[in-house]
Subunit: 337 residues, 2 copies
Amino acid sequence: MQKKAAARTPRITIRDVASDAGVSVAAVSKVLRDAYGVSEALRAKVQASMDKLNYRPLASARGLRGRTYTLGLVFPDLRNPFFADIFAGVNAALERTRYQAMQGISTSASALVEAMIDRQMDGLILVGPNENNERLNDIAKRTPLVVIGHHDIDGAKFDAVNNDDQLGARLAVRHLCQNGHSKIAMLSLSAPVSTVINQRELGYRLEMTEQGLGGAINILRAPQVLRDVQLTIRKLLESKDKPDAIFCWTDLMAFEAISVATELGLSIPDDLAVVGYDNTIFCDFSQNRLTSIDQSGEVLGLQATRLLIERIDGRMQPDHFVVTPRVVARASSARND
Amino acid sequence: MQKKAAARTPRITIRDVASDAGVSVAAVSKVLRDAYGVSEALRAKVQASMDKLNYRPLASARGLRGRTYTLGLVFPDLRNPFFADIFAGVNAALERTRYQAMQGISTSASALVEAMIDRQMDGLILVGPNENNERLNDIAKRTPLVVIGHHDIDGAKFDAVNNDDQLGARLAVRHLCQNGHSKIAMLSLSAPVSTVINQRELGYRLEMTEQGLGGAINILRAPQVLRDVQLTIRKLLESKDKPDAIFCWTDLMAFEAISVATELGLSIPDDLAVVGYDNTIFCDFSQNRLTSIDQSGEVLGLQATRLLIERIDGRMQPDHFVVTPRVVARASSARND
DNA sequence: GGAGAAATGTAGAACGCTACACGTAGAACA
DNA sequence: TGTTCTACGTGTAGCGTTCTACATTTCTCC
C-alpha cells in the first residue's frame, strides 16, 4: 500500500522532554516560559534534556493557548528597496528575542491582515497602509498594531511611527532654494491617496510660500505605473513653464525623472535639479548621484518593533514616534548659478 | 483591578457556526474541507452561517491536526529588487487558492528555516540558499521543499527551479563578442560560494574558450559589501589590461561598475561595455540602459510554487524545472566598431 | 418487501502546548 | 506544638480544529 505523504521524522514534543528529564509536562512548560516556581536544579535538568533531544516548541500549539512569538509585517510592495531598510530595522530589534518576523505583500492590506490574524500573529506592523482610521482601529481591537507611515492619528487606538514628512518636504524645497533654484515642481502620487502624500504636499506648499515662491507652486500627480510616470514627467519637461527643479515623492520616481530628462537631452543638475525621498542605496551611484531626503527606514522599523512588543506586553495607551528627516545632498541638486 | 491585556473581540469559532446552523461541529469541518459526504442542503446552510458570522478558521488550530495553508519563503536579502519578482510570481500562483505566502529574510537560512518549521509552514521555498545538499535533504525530510537557484541536485530529495545560469553566462559573452568586444572580464562573487555562481563562471569560461578568447579569461571576485566591490572594479579599470567589456553576476554589481567607470571618466559603452544579470526594473532607466540577462523571476516563483503545492499534495519523486534565460540588449553593450 | 449498499450526519479522541488549581514539604513564626 | 507561609512540582482541562469510527437514513435492485 502506497503511503499518501512522506513518512516525515516525527517531532519531539514537550512530553518527550518531560519523560526524558523525568519530570512532568507542566514543569517543562514552566521552564519554557520562565514561569515562577522553578528550582535551579529542575531548570538545569530540563534544559539538558531539551538540548539533548533538540526540542523546539511548536508555535501552533502555543498559539492555541498563548503566543506564537511571530510578528507580521505588511508591505504595500517590494520593488522599492526602501522597504528592505525597514525590514532590516525590524530584524535588528528582534535579535536575541524569541520573536520572529514574517512578511507579506499586498496593496490591499485588508485580506493580508486577515490572513495574518488567522495565523495568530502576536502583533502586526503595517507599512504605508491605505486604510482609514476606522478600519485601523477595528484591526487594533483584534490584535496589537503599529502603523508606519500614517499621519492621521486622532483617536487612534494603535501606535504610529512616522517620518516627519511635512518637514522632509520643506527641507527638500529649502535645499533647492539655497542652491539657487526657484521654479520647483513637485511630482506626487495620484492613485492611493495617503496621509504621507498629503503631508509632503503640504510641506512643499508651505515652504514654497514661505520662500516667496507661492506663484511657482506646481504639483503633478501620477499613478505608480511606470508608463504614466514617464508621460507625466515628459509633459512637464516639454511644457512652456518647464521647472528648473523637481522634488519627487520617492527615489524611484526621481530616477524616472532623471531618465526622462536625460533622454530629452537635459543635463542634471544644470538644466534640471532633482531631489528624491528615501535615500535608498541607488542614490549613491554616480549615474544617479541623487540628492534625497533620508527618513532612515531602519530606525522606523526598529522603533515600530519596540512599540509593538511593548503593546503585546500589555501597554494600552497609544504611542507615537517621530523620526526627523534630513537632506543628503548629492550632485543632482548641486548649486546652479 | 487592572486588566493585563486588552479585552479583544473574541473570535468566532467553528462551534459558533455549528450552533448557528444547527448542525454538528464535524459537519462544519466537512464543509470547510470539501470532504466527502456533504449534502447540498447542508453545505448551503453551513455556508450561510459562516458568511453571516464572518467566520474564519484559525490556522494554528488547523495546523495542530492538518495544514496551516501557509507557505514560507526564505530570501537571502531584500535589497535586490529581483527578489520582488519572485515574490510576485509566488503570489500570482497562489491567487484563488487558500494558501498564503509568508516571507522571512536571512543570509543564514538555517535559523529561519527552523523558525518556519516551528510555525507549521506547509512547505518551504528557499531562494539561493548557501546550504549543501545534505542539509537541504535533511530539511526536505521534515517538510516539503523547493529550492530556487541551486544546481547541485544529485540525489536531491527536494524540488529545484533554476535558471540555466551556465547558458545565461554564455549568452552574455556571446552577445558581447557579437558586438565587437573581446577583452571581456567577469565580475563574480567571492564570499558565499554558490552553485549559481559556479555555473555562471563555468559558462563564462566555456564560451570565452569557444569564442577563441581563452587567453582573455579574467574573473574577479568581490564580496557583497559595496566598498569592496567598488575597490575591485576600480582596480580592474585602472590596470594595464583594462577590459573593454565586463559581465557582472548581478545588475546591482553592474550598476556599481557603471558608477565607477563614470567616475573614472570612461564612457559606456564606448570605453567599457557592461552586461548584468536579472534584468531588474532599474535596467530600463536611461542613466543605466543596462543590457542584462533576463531569468524571469516571476516564472521562477510561479513554477516553484506549483511544484511545492504538488509536493504538499503528496508527490514523492523530485522534480526539476529550468527556465531558459535570454539577453535583453540595451545601450550599455551597444556595438563598438 | 427486504437485503445490501451508498449517502449523510454525529461523537469524540486526538494534536502540543499553556495555565489554573492544587498538593506537598520545609521554614518561619507564635 | 501547631499554624501559616512560601517555594516548588504536578494533574488536568481546555484552546479550535481535523478525522476516524460509527449510527442513521435513503437508495437500489431483485
